[in-house]
């Protein structure tokens, strides 16, 4: 980093004119632009089918989507050249809307493998068992996660709330730079929502950024965004401050869509 440049002035994520399509050629993202700096919390809201989840999947490197145009840079590196695991190792974390069940792989074993693979890629030594155990205990406590849950197969037979808490638990363990939360609030009761939000608020600091993807304004009462973007039909059509979320909650999306269409 050049001298004299404040860390929060540097761009973390830079998305330029991003177009992405699914296998049959249907274009889902039609030119998304977004810049996220360290320390910022962004929220993307929008109606169902607007492309919010696709956007998060494309950043994370899901091969179900093909990027046909545009750029994604992460700390000035070309993200589109990287495989999903490399993006994760660089510090991108996606909390899944529907976390996948993996029978036979315990939460602890999985997280140990993930942490050590990331360390290996950086030429670092594997994390010591005792250190890992301490981290697991601390983070599990923060999220009110029971011990036996860590020995269970990932997400197998977990309730909706347990799955989401497990995602946030993994986020705290992996300690990424950018956390993308894809509909993390869906299926959560108010207590679980508070626990998850506390976890995210604990995570975030001046070096980290959070991108919240949500349908409802509810989660944003707990994780307060610096910027709110409205996505519709594969584009960001309006951006504003946190007050935009409140307005969207009250008035719905139609007025923004109409405004963007110039009606």
């Amino acid at each position: 980093m050049p001298k004299g440049l404040k860390p929060n002035l540097q761009n973390m994520l830079k998305v330029k004119n991003l177009h992405a399509q699914i296998e049959d050629g249907t274009e889902i993202l039609k030119g998304v632009n977004l810049e996220i700096k360290p320390g910022e919390v962004h929220a993307i809201m929008g109606p169902n089918g607007s492309g919010k989840s696709t956007f998060s999947a494309v950043i994370a490197g899901n091969e179900d989507y093909e990027v046909s145009q545009g750029e994604i840079e992460f700390y000035d590196e070309d993200l589109l050249e990287m495989e999903a695991y490399e993006r994760a190792q660089k510090g991108i974390f996606l909390s899944f809307q529907y976390p996948v069940e993996i029978p036979g792989v315990s939460v602890t074993n999985f997280i140990r493998t993930a942490i050590n693979e990331s360390r290996k890629s950086k030429g670092e030594e594997e994390m010591k068992g005792a250190e890992m155990l301490k981290m697991v205990r601390e983070n599990a406590e923060k999220l009110n996660i029971k011990k036996d849950f860590l020995n269970r197969s990932i997400n197998e037979g977990f309730s909706g709330g347990e799955k989401k808490r497990n995602e946030i638990f993994q986020m705290l363990m992996l300690d990424p730079k950018l956390a993308i939360l894809d509909e993390t609030d869906s299926g959560l009761d108010i207590d679980a929502l508070r626990i998850v939000a506390d976890g995210v608020n604990f995570f975030k600091n001046e070096d980290k950024a959070v991108l919240v993807i949500t349908h409802y304004q509810r989660l944003l009462e707990y994780i307060v965004p610096d910027f709110v973007h409205v996505m519709n039909d594969g584009k960001i059509i309006k951006s504003g401050g946190k007050e935009l979320a409140v307005e969207l909650e009250e008035r719905g999306y139609d007025w923004v869509i109409a405004e963007a269409a110039g009606v």
């Binding site: 999903a84 695991y85 996948v100 069940e101 993996i102 036979g104 997280i111 693979e117």
Partner: protein
């Protein structure tokens, strides 16, 4: 195919002269070669061989004993194939000949030695005559061929109430330099009442020759006795194996066979359990991981003849490349086998478009108060799980290995010897091209 058959029948004339010392066996061999001459090798018109084409392995001009030089092998290299860090009795054959240097036998707590020796000695006469060729059927092609040509293998007799102090490793190496050999090892294993034994068996070709092993193992498990048997099949890609194992169980006995099939060109496991006594329990476990042009066929049979018995069968298979797997699980419930509890499951993952699995449960039930469940699945690698794992920073190969290991691991839960489990895990990691401990 005709050629090899006729060739073998003709060569039996020479063979029986050479091994005519044990008189009571001569008639048995004569009968067996006649049976083989009559039934011949099976082909794909036989229901039991529909999915396994034998012609590629029946076209070679096999020697029955290697005649020329042997390739030089270092003892250290041979030792790599043993399950290491484990104190064990060993019975080792190289090119069909017992190797006393590498073996470690006993006549103290039990008789663990060479069958050809046991046959010649009066003290073993009763056991040999009571069990040899009594558990195996007389009319099956490969078994008859083995009876006709076999002259050696392991002899294991565990006396009543003996819990063997350490496992037994049976190793069959092939090092003939010039020729392809057809081996006929024959093992006789008798467990006295209330006895316990653990056995590991492995066939290994070291000479890059397309050898064919046609092995027969007969096992009698006494009352309340416990057998724990591990077959580690990770042979060179040229070698083929027809394994015929017959286990007869007396009342209250428990017998488990774990078959790990990772190597070889063609492997056929004919694994047969006959439950003769009440309250017997049979466990059949298998993991198959193959690729390339490999072929592994598991044909299992559990004959439930007595009431209050159990069988538990779990086979998992992972197939890549052009490989071909077959699972045929036959459960035969005789009319007296009431109150049976039988479970069978075969799960498979196909990793390529060209890999194939033919899986078939076959239940024949003649009793009316039994519980028999069975199921089979064929699936692919879960792409959602793959993305999920990669999103957490786990590279593709490792993510794939972790998923596949998780798929197969359930089968390893019943492995009682940790060193075997570790060995199998190491082979699995090797097969999946990762350096992981899981």
């Amino acid at each position: 195919m005709l050629e090899l058959k006729d060739n073998l029948v003709a060569r039996h004339l020479v063979f029986k002269e050479k091994y005519s010392k044990i008189k009571w066996m001569n008639g048995m061999r004569e009968q067996a070669i006649k049976t083989f001459d009559k039934v011949g090798f099976p082909n794909r018109k036989d229901e039991e061989w529909r999915f396994t084409n034998l012609s590629p392995v029946l076209s070679a001009d096999y020697k029955l004993y290697p005649e020329g030089d042997e390739i030089p092998v270092r003892i250290e290299d041979l030792k790599n194939y043993f399950v290491s860090n484990i104190d064990s009795y060993n019975i080792v054959f190289i090119n069909g000949v017992y190797n006393s240097f590498l073996s470690s036998t006993t006549h103290d707590e039990a008789d663990i030695c060479v069958l050809s020796c046991a046959m010649e000695k009066m003290v073993y006469q009763t056991v040999v005559e009571n069990y040899y060729n009594k558990i195996a059927p007389k009319d099956e092609s490969f078994t008859a061929l083995n009876t006709a040509f076999s002259h050696d293998g392991a002899y294991i007799y565990i006396p009543d109430k003996t819990i063997l102090s350490k496992p037994i490793q049976l190793m069959f190496f092939s090092t003939a330099k010039e020729e392809e050999v057809m081996y006929h090892p024959r093992n006789l294993i008798v467990l006295g009442d209330h006895s316990q034994v653990q056995i590991i068996e492995r066939h290994q070709t070291l000479n890059q020759k397309a050898n064919l092993t046609n092995s027969v193992t007969e096992i009698a498990v006494g009352k309340n006795a416990e057998l724990d048997y591990y077959k580690i099949q990770n042979d060179a890609s040229e070698a083929s194996l027809i394994d015929n194992t017959y286990i007869s169980q007396a009342r209250d006995s428990r017998a488990s066979v774990h078959t790990f099939s990772f190597g070889g060109k063609l492997t056929r496991n004919n694994l047969n359990f006959i439950q003769n006594g009440v309250n017997s329990n049979s466990i059949l476990n298998g993991i198959t991981i193959i690729s390339g042009e490999q072929h592994v066929d598991h044909h299992t049979l559990v004959e439930h003849m007595a009431p209050h018995c159990e069988s538990h069968e779990l086979y998992k298979g992972i197939y890549d490349g052009n490989s071909h797997g077959v699972f045929n699980g036959k459960i035969f419930v005789h009319k007296d086998a009431q109150k049976l509890n039988s479970f069978q499951q075969n799960n498979n993952v196909l990793l390529s478009d060209k890999a194939e699995i033919d899986t078939k449960p076959q239940l024949e039930i003649f009793a009316d108060d039994v519980k028999c469940s069975h199921g089979c699945t064929v699936g692919q690698l879960d792409e959602n799980a793959m993305f999920y794992m990669q999103q957490r920073g786990i590279p593709k190969a490792e993510a794939k290995a972790l998923l596949l290991y998780a798929f197969a691991a359930e089968v390893l839960e019943l492995v009682q010897i940790p060193q075997i489990k570790n060995r199998i895990i190491a082979i699995i990691a090797d097969k999946l091209n990762v350096n992981m401990e899981f």
